[in-house]
């Protein structure tokens, strides 16, 4: 049976003023909140746990389980922090969701706060999307005016305030503990764990940090049931997710589908690779996930299958590159990104990404030697698993996987004394380089 799309979060994005409370309510918005507020908080948590929802921000940790790690209430504050710092290269699902339908996230944040006993929630949005910030600020104001936020929400006795906070340009703030430090008004550097945020998070209080899409999925689970959610996806990767196709495909965009769909199926929906070319390599979940090739077209895009095939589902950011693309150029650029975004707190990542970029630059220019490949792998080996957070691990993924799949292409740069590719052929326009 061919997998088909399951529009849930994306169902009404094309309606006029899709971001307004009225449009959202016309499409069933805030019904799940009414249902949740009539349930004991523990039952809301249990529903999300039963659904098997796993974090949509990349790591795939079970969302309900994360919530259940909060210690018993001690009378002090507990916080929900929504991670809207979407910055992983290739990832472009949360930003369009927040632009088109911010009310979905607001409803999810209210239900989640109710489930975990939080009365002050934060949405940490990356600062480089000013119109999305406007939409979120507007959405909070609209929700408040309608009595969905504030004191005694819908007569339930439950109070909640949501603050939308803009970051200021730092990829590392997508890491949950760096995000918390940043939200506290500090440099965004990851914390040593444990303690985990569930125990000592924002202001050292119990805190749940979840990705936008995870929280936005909560209203549908509460409204339609854990069984409904589990009827999609696979056993251990249940439900739906937004798959973002970009690059050399005919119709790049957002495709909401059950987990377990394949790139072959998605490419058919997206009109295939651009005419006259074929698939060369792709990322299943952003630049921090090891690259795949044409051999992986039928790998089911769920956490287990992608892991078994040697990569990670990550954020379902499917960046597609055709045969005109130089893999060494692509990897060098990603590596320069990690070098730039390394926060500098730990040595393996700070020094390692610096040297990786140096060595790769030399290779891309056709200088250096074959021994440099061993040097790259050695540096990667000294970063992977030795860095404070996942940024360092992510930096090694494109390098090790590209050497695995495209070693010959690295060597071709050395043999030719330069890059064998013409970059103008990869562009999406006819205009030549300046």
């Amino acid at each position: 049976m061919t997998t088909t799309l399951t529009p849930i979060l994306t169902a009404f994005w094309d309606e006029p003023h899709s971001w307004s409370r009225k449009t959202y309510e016309r499409n069933g918005g805030y019904e799940a909140l009414r249902k949740a507020l009539a349930m004991p908080a523990a039952d809301v948590l249990a529903a999300v746990k039963d659904s098997g929802l796993r974090g949509r921000g990349g790591a795939g940790f079970p969302t309900g389980l994360k919530w259940s790690f909060l210690p018993k209430p001690d009378g002090g504050p507990r916080y929900l922090v929504v991670n809207a710092d979407e910055s992983e290269p290739g990832t472009c699902k949360d930003i369009p969701l927040l632009m088109a339908s911010p009310q979905t996230l607001i409803e999810g944040a209210i239900i989640t706060s109710y489930a975990i006993g939080c009365h002050k929630a934060f949405i940490y949005l990356r600062g480089e999307v000013v119109h999305v910030y406007r939409r979120l600020l507007g959405a909070v104001a609209e929700a408040k005016a309608a009595g969905y936020l504030g004191e005694n929400i819908l007569g339930s006795g439950f109070d909640l305030d949501i603050v939308v906070h803009a970051g200021a340009g730092a990829y590392i703030c997508g890491e949950e503990t760096a995000l918390l430090d940043s939200l506290e008004g500090r440099r965004g550097q990851p914390r040593l764990k444990p303690p985990f945020p569930a125990v000592a998070g924002l202001y050292a209080r119990p805190t749940v940090v979840n990705n936008v899409e995870s929280i936005a999925s909560v209203p549908s689970i509460v409204g339609r049931g854990a069984g409904w959610f589990k009827s999609m996806g696979t056993d251990r990767s249940s439900g739906f997710g937004i798959f973002s196709l970009s690059g050399h495909v005919n119709r790049p965009g957002q495709y909401e589908a059950p987990l377990g769909i394949t790139l072959r199926e998605l490419l058919a929906m997206a009109g295939g690779i651009r005419r006259g070319h074929e698939l060369k390599f792709w990322t299943p979940g952003g630049s921090s996930t090891p690259i795949f090739t044409g051999k992986h077209l039928d790998v089911p895009l769920d956490f287990e299958s992608v892991g078994a095939a040697g990569s990670m589902l990550g954020t379902r950011a499917l960046q597609i590159f055709d045969d005109t693309t130089c893999v060494v150029r692509a990897v060098l650029r990603w590596t320069e990104f990690y070098k730039h975004e390394s926060c500098g707190k730990c040595t393996p990542c700070r020094e390692g990404t610096y040297w990786l970029a140096q060595v790769l630059k030399r290779l891309e220019a056709g200088q250096g030697s074959e021994e440099d490949l061993a040097k790259l792998l050695d540096i990667c080996d000294n970063i992977l698993g030795r860095a404070f957070c996942a940024l360092g691990d992510g930096a090694t993924s494109p390098i090790t996987s590209s050497i695995q799949h495209f070693r010959d292409e690295y060597l071709a740069h050395l043999a030719q004394g330069g890059c064998p590719f013409d970059p103008s052929r990869s562009t999406l326009f006819e205009e030549a380089f300046a």
């Binding site: 088909t4 008004g185 409904w228 999406l428």
Partner: protein, 234 residues
């Protein structure tokens, strides 16, 4: 230019509004840095001193934070930041060509401002618009599916003092200072302008509607519904 008493008084009122949002005052630091940037167009020594005084921090503590984040500028910024995405995907699809064109056209490189103070050119990292590659951001508004020619037309208009309209964003791009004030958390009333979703964002939504594909019926419970994967199937 030092902050005058009037300006300081106005900024102080805004800063207190920001601080009221948070249980702990120091959380107001990032929005306050956006605020001082909205006044002076960069993070000046005066701006740092203002934040430090207001939050009872040392200037060194404030400077340490300000220098960590790329959106906080250490030199006076142009009226418009033109940011070309040159992370891998956009670069390959044409971002590198766009950047080279603008660099030649403006005569300024990365993180440099044109002599007339209009434009600060930047290479930016992935801005979550990959399905619209190559992407250019002007004061953090989206300009999708750019070419060297279309990007040059944007900067020509900006330098001629004409308004430019983002692909997905407000009805026009506002100045760097105005955008910075929004980032401090002060809504400017433009949230209902522009589209909800661009064409790429809607690909799946519209395809599903054409094909009659929907999410399963909630009443179906554990029964597999046509169009969805059965449990365990992979």
């Amino acid at each position: 230019m030092p902050l005058t008493a009037d300006v300081t008084e106005r900024l102080t009122a805004d800063a207190h509004q920001i601080m009221e949002r948070y249980p702990v005052a120091r959380s107001a630091l990032l929005p306050m840095l956006h605020l001082v940037q909205s006044e002076e167009g960069y993070i000046s020594p005066d701006g740092i001193a203002f934040c430090a005084r207001t939050l009872d921090l040392t200037p060194a503590e404030v400077a340490a934070v300000a220098t960590f984040y790329t959106q906080f500028k250490r030199r006076p910024n142009g009226t418009y930041t033109v940011g070309v995405c040159t992370n891998t995907l956009c670069a390959v699809m044409g971002g590198d060509a766009i950047f080279e064109t603008l660099e030649k056209n403006l005569g300024s490189g990365h993180d440099e401002t044109t002599g007339d103070g209009t434009i600060t050119l930047e290479r930016v990292e992935c801005n979550a618009g990959c399905d619209y590659a190559p992407v250019v951001m002007v004061n953090w508004e989206f300009f999708d599916n750019q070419t060297p020619g279309s990007a040059k037309a944007i900067v020509d208009k900006l330098r001629a003092g004409e308004a430019v309209v983002p692909t997905r964003g407000a009805a026009k791009v506002h100045t760097f200072k105005e955008a910075s004030r929004v980032l401090a958390g002060f809504l400017d009333g433009h949230e209902n302008e522009g589209v909800g979703a661009g064409p790429a964002s809607l690909q799946g939504t519209l395809l599903a509607r054409r094909e009659g594909w929907t999410a399963p019926d909630p009443g179906a419970g554990t029964t597999p519904v046509d169009g969805t994967k059965q449990k365990g199937q992979s």
